[in-house]
Symmetry: C3
Subunit: 349 residues, 3 copies
């Protein structure tokens, strides 16, 4: 498992910045192996998260059907720093639940989002529009009258935010905020129409918002080539293949990364695990990324397609520097944090 050579060695040591993940469940599991229960959830989390070798985590806190670790506890388990990503649909739905009037919705949503992102540690916002409406949307900013009419309907009907006008409004509110915007794209669960989650459907909107906020296309699979095209033609577009890595597994991580990197500029690819609920996914995502990228880069050094210094630079960029620059994270986090000193040695569970 894994390979040999200086790129593999460098990637084994490089602390990662996981720019998109979630918390892990806070209770012992009742259906999992005895050893897991014996160790206890805190120790299991600690082992897997340390094994992932992450220096920083950007945690989506907006989807908690079961209790999940808050960012601070995840950070402690990982020996890393944690940052928060605010899920915009969750904010919109709590505004709706608060009993707002339709004509006050737009302002109330904006105020609630601005308040949410002022919390310490918030570095980005996220939308799951891919699940709710898909990206087959009119790219223009909706008028106030249209937003009010749509809010009236939604507030009357209840349920999750899945109105097309309100989703457009949510995305444009994100543009006004100025923070990086993460977008779930591609593969997800059965609520998704996969072809409507192809990020290329966002082309016209991405063209309209040029020069404003960075947009992070999460996961992308199986549309990693379409996403790469967007990252080439738009300065403000970035991507990862996070969720795909622990689904396709270490054996195919390289193949998916190869496709994603065919044309993506090396400063535009980020690492994420999209780990959710189980600490195992944090470790698995990191393992797949290190091995897949290591194989890819090491082989290109071997065939003289890349120099070793360039390969090491690309490894450092994608493992963390691209995310640090984009989200404004401190470059010295890992080494100044004493809790992480044992990390390189504790990467085996």
């Amino acid at each position: 498992m894994g390979g040999t050579g200086p790129v593999h060695e460098a990637l084994a040591e490089l602390p990662l910045v996981d720019h998109h993940c979630h918390g892990v469940v806070t209770a012992d599991l009742d259906v999992y192996v005895a050893r897991r229960a014996e160790l206890g959830v805190r120790e299991v989390d600690r082992r897997f998260l340390r094994a992932a070798g992450v220096a920083a985590l950007c945690v989506d806190t907006g989807h908690t059907p079961v209790p999940l670790t808050p960012p601070a506890r995840l950070a402690e388990a990982a020996g890393a720093t944690a940052h928060e990503v605010v899920r915009l649909e969750a904010v919109a739905e709590s505004v709706a639940a608060s009993g707002v009037e339709a004509d006050a919705y737009a302002e109330a949503f904006r105020t609630a989002v601005e308040e949410a992102v002022r919390r310490p540690g918030v570095v980005a916002v996220k939308s799951v529009a891919a699940y709710r409406t898909g990206f087959h949307l009119d790219p223009a900013r909706p008028t106030d009258a249209l937003v009010t009419a749509s809010a009236r309907q939604w507030l009357a009907d209840g349920g999750r935010l899945s109105d097309r006008v309100l989703t457009r409004h949510l995305l444009w509110t994100a543009v006004d905020l100025g923070l990086p915007l993460q977008l779930h794209t591609g593969f997800g669960d059965g609520d998704l129409r996969l072809h409507r989650a192809n990020p290329v459907l966002l082309t016209d909107w991405l063209r309209l918002i040029r020069g404003t906020i960075p947009v992070l296309l999460l996961h992308c699979w199986p549309y990693q080539r379409e996403a790469a095209h967007l990252a080439v033609v738009f300065d403000h577009v970035y991507l990862d293949v996070g969720l795909a890595l622990h689904h396709v597994g270490p054996a195919r991580a390289r193949a998916v990364l190869e496709e994603a990197l065919e044309i993506t500029p090396f400063r535009k690819l980020l690492y994420s695990s999209d780990a959710y609920g189980l600490a195992e996914f944090h470790a698995l995502g990191a393992l797949a990324f290190r091995r897949g990228l290591g194989e890819l880069l090491q082989d290109r050094v071997g065939t003289d397609d890349l120099s070793l210094p360039d390969a090491l630079r690309i490894a450092a960029w994608t493992a963390g520097d691209n995310a640090r620059r984009l989200y404004g994270l401190s470059p010295t986090e890992p080494s100044t944090d004493p809790t992480t000193t044992e990390r390189p040695h504790s990467r085996k569970v």
Copy 2:
């Protein structure tokens, strides 16, 4: 050609269940090599079909512009058991040809299909909606009034069934039948709009029919990843990459299988040849599948991504057990059938 190692050896010996194929032409060919004519069509069929090493064949009997072997004769040539798949469009078109009235079409079609699937050996139905309308369909069951109006138009116009309402009606009739439904998806001939044959367009319909019948996505190429997504998120969805295998050839079978298997659960992938007309395709499909899957699994054993027992289990599932379970075929067919005893030794033509 082919590889070495225990997985390759296991796959060489495993009898296959070809869950989707057609008959072969019943006459000597007048343009083919002299040796073929010298051997005669029966002997050629026997050699190629034995070479394929199939234990069971599910034969689509609904497309015979030239005379093709019926399942029983194909079974005899192959030393295998044969089962029948009823093509629903063929049934609908024979109902139309019988002179039915528009308002009796729905009932007449249902009765004809029920009769067709009561024939001994029928294990599934199939639709070629991908060729006729594409999958860009309203997923809802059409009303009786709509079916009657559409039938009136079709019966007046004549021709093949390519009406969108009647195609929806045909698919919903299949749901009522309760048998597994095979759907041609992806690559086909020039009648097809490839992007309309992307199975992901069926997402809403597949969501509506959850908990009813198994749906088998045939071929899928180049949409094997989209098909895999459907197999992950819907319990009742299965897939093969049959037709693709003899088109891309043994040299690329592995690559296509790798993509199909990135996320497809191992109990959800089936083998098929989609062989049509020429017995060579039966042999070529089997060769490509055995070699491609063998290389893929053997390499994963080599890199410790799979244990050998798991690799052998996956080989047995995809080669036949998944199909046996799904179509209710007997697990002991090959060994109890004396005509197959020479099969493993006759696999070279």
Copy 3:
């Protein structure tokens, strides 16, 4: 870099026919390495173009925001023959700029195109409809009345040709001309909606024009498999993966060619560089093509999937013979041109 074996050796020596490229800038660059300036643009062009080892170039002359070499000078630098490809949108826009009346537009455009293709050395026409409207077009030939109405609007509004009716008219005018038609498909710049440049959207139009002109799908990435499907089902459809090669680079050229060649008939794949502006792209495209195809074919000889003579034949077809046959180029061009004798030895810059 590159491989060994007879296929690699053959491909290193084979003169290429680059069936789709552009000129290079005519001035020294002011931001490029000192050595380039020291050598001077003519010597740099000469070295890179000789290194590409091309025997013939088909040059798109219709996009010159900066001065580019005309075909004759490109030919001289390359030691090759050059042919011209007329960009239809450029002709239409110069007709519009000439002050034509709306009801005379159709006839004026036809006359201008016929005149343009009568120039010596013109072998094909090209459309960039992918950039302007995408391929999501009504496939039918538009009526005269519709063309006049659309021309009236366009002539009043000015700007580039991006009207859907006039684009259909342009494509049908190409059919009437009888020359091969090149179509940009797939990956391009930020003006493009990538999913609208998927060549499979042209299916209905390609079916309508069966038996008329050859259609060359340029680049195709990431839709090389969809393009391959069209090349299989339509006799008159051909493809290359030109632009993709210098974007994905030599390290991934093989992977893209593998996908393109999964089902594309070997007489249907052409070489192009889509080099634009910099002579480096001519050399890089050729390098990526020779190495990628060489690896692919050599490995298939090694696994006995291809005989060596077949592999060499496929190399010669795709490197140039397919393009020579299609565009009616002379088969003996390279060897009768004394300026090319040093080519095989000057392939390193």
